[in-house]
Amino acid sequence: MNDTAIETVGLGKRYSRKRSSWALRDCSFRLPTGRICALVGPNGAGKSTLLALAAGLLRPTEGTVSVLGRTPGEARELIGYVAQDKPLIPQLSIADTLRMGQELNPGRWDMAAAERIVAEGKLDPSERVRSLSGGQRTRVALALALGKRPELMLLDEPMADLDPLARHQLMGTLMAEAAENGTTVVMSSHVLTELEGSCDYLLLVDGGRVRLGGETEDIVAAHTLLTGPVADLAPHTVIEQRTAGRGLTALVRRDGPIEGPWETAEPSLEELLLAHLRSPDAPDLLTPSAEHRTDTAVRA
């Protein structure tokens, strides 16, 4: 049984031939199956590109990406994907949109599940997609993606433009469906708090590469927030430090136990991510489960 949802080796994507325009470069990581993964990073970091490559919508410029042990093209039936702007066909009714899902996924489609997701939003199936609000569109797009019973869900900024109530409802629907079917979910966002409660895996993409990858708990546990007098922090890796007079605040990646005159605390996930984003030179960290295993993933 394949336990790898996504694996990339040296993955790179460049949209034009100009040298500076790599959207993603030298990106290697592995995402085990069954995880709810937050794909975070600032705007323009390459999150959408990474998801589109995994969904088989883009061809890598270099490197390889495999999904569930196959090329993204071969895994097409197993992947659910919701793009950032939730494209749907405006002239179709909701019922016709779901019918399209059924026609395009023969043998896989679960109409009852898709209709249930629509019904939970109190949507009239005869309503046309063009008249739906942003939240309603997201719900229909999710129903279309979940109706094909994917093994891997790729959601690009799924909750952007939603009010907190709709966000909470949809996240609940999504998590319930994922839990029921053991679906691996990757959700991108530039607002971490949107995802923090639901995700147990983390990929931080910044500047076109994966800087942090692994179980959220393990990544947080590998770091310590120190406050105390200015002193040499070796052998720990300093991610970020600030001095005020003789006082020091530093976020370090531990190498062995912390010994010294400092007060230690576990950083919050947000502090940890912000520290990494502010320090582009900090070394990358992939936990063992996020390290790619093969030298080349299946050729796309």
Partner: protein
């Protein structure tokens, strides 16, 4: 397809239901294309039906009947010569003008089809991301494009085929009644009554699709597709007369018009008399089919090359 020949009783009633729906109704990607482009396909069907109505009206309307009556018995003892009324009888001139106008419409289907294919069929879907929606709903980009092209191609082939056949019947009627005159005006007529016209509409489809795949936006693809299709038809047109070896004017078996040997003179009859275009060169009537088939072949080959390039473009950009 599940069959009911299994020795074991079927455990679930579901397969019977799917078999029932899939046998009679379009399914899968075919259903999607038919549903998505329902309006456009109905417009095309309506265009074909209305055009056939116009053809019938030209023939059976009062003007057409008057024109035929004017020329009844012409050229035989006791009647006037057939070309005597050619430019003076209103009904005759009107009928002939209508025949030419219908020919012009048929001639110019390709740019219209290209505009639609560029904008609505492919361009809009690439622009607003619904193409990617299909590709993530288990349809590979190649199969998506194949169905997108095949369904309209079937509608265009049947529709344009019916139109060309009907137009040909109308021309046969007008020739029988000596309404057409040899010369410049039949240039369009002659080339529009064969399979080449159908091939041009398919060329329009291919041009529009390629424009959309290259530009990935609806409005630019509409403009570029229509312009390219129009330029291609204009570029091919002058070569049509020389696709097949021509005979010499004056050869008795070739173009020969009673009472006239000049271009633009005499009565035209594509069955009995014989030329592709006497203004360019003479062609016997039995050259008609070879000339049409060669032109059709060239246009279809061009369309095939464009379709191949379209698949290449799609393949290069998408996994």
């Amino acid at each position: 397809m599940s069959t009911s020949t299994s020795p074991h009783p079927a455990p679930a009633p579901a397969p019977a239901k799917t078999a029932k729906t899939s046998r009679l109704r379009p399914s899968g990607q075919l259903w999607t294309v038919l549903r998505l482009h329902r309006t456009a396909l109905w417009v095309w069907v309506a265009f074909v039906v209305i055009s056939i109505g116009v053809l019938l009206w030209v023939r059976y309307g009062s003007t057409g009947v008057d024109a035929a009556a004017t020329l009844a018995g012409c050229g035989t003892a006791g009647h006037r010569a057939c070309d005597e009324w050619m430019w003076s009888d209103t009904a005759l001139v009107t009928t002939r003008d209508r025949l030419l106008e219908i020919g012009q419409v048929l001639r110019n289907l390709a740019p219209v089809v290209a505009a639609w294919a560029g904008a609505a069929l492919i361009g809009r879907e690439l622009e607003n991301g619904t193409a990617e929606l299909a590709w993530t709903q288990s349809v590979s980009p190649a199969r998506w494009l194949a169905t997108k092209l095949a369904v309209p191609a079937a509608f265009l082939t049947v529709g344009a085929g019916v139109l060309v056949a009907s137009y040909r019947m109308l021309l046969d009627w007008s020739v029988t009644h000596h309404m057409l005159r040899a010369g410049y005006e039949k240039y369009t007529l002659y080339f529009n009554i064969g399979p080449a016209t159908v091939a041009y509409t398919l060329l329009g489809l291919a041009v529009g699709a390629l424009a959309a795949l290259l530009l990935r936006r609806a409005v630019p693809a509409l403009v570029a597709g229509a312009a390219a299709a129009w330029l291609l038809t204009v570029a091919i047109a002058p070569w049509r007369g020389s696709l097949w070896p021509v005979g010499a004017v004056g050869d008795s078996s070739l173009w020969h018009l009673p009472g006239s040997d000049s271009c633009g003179g005499g009565i035209y009859n594509h069955n009995l008399i014989d030329s592709v275009d006497p203004c360019i060169s003479a062609q016997p009537a039995d050259h008609y089919l070879p000339v049409q088939l060669v032109e059709t072949g060239i246009v279809l080959a061009l369309a095939a090359v464009l379709v191949l390039i379209s698949f290449r473009v799609l393949h290069r950009r998408n996994a």
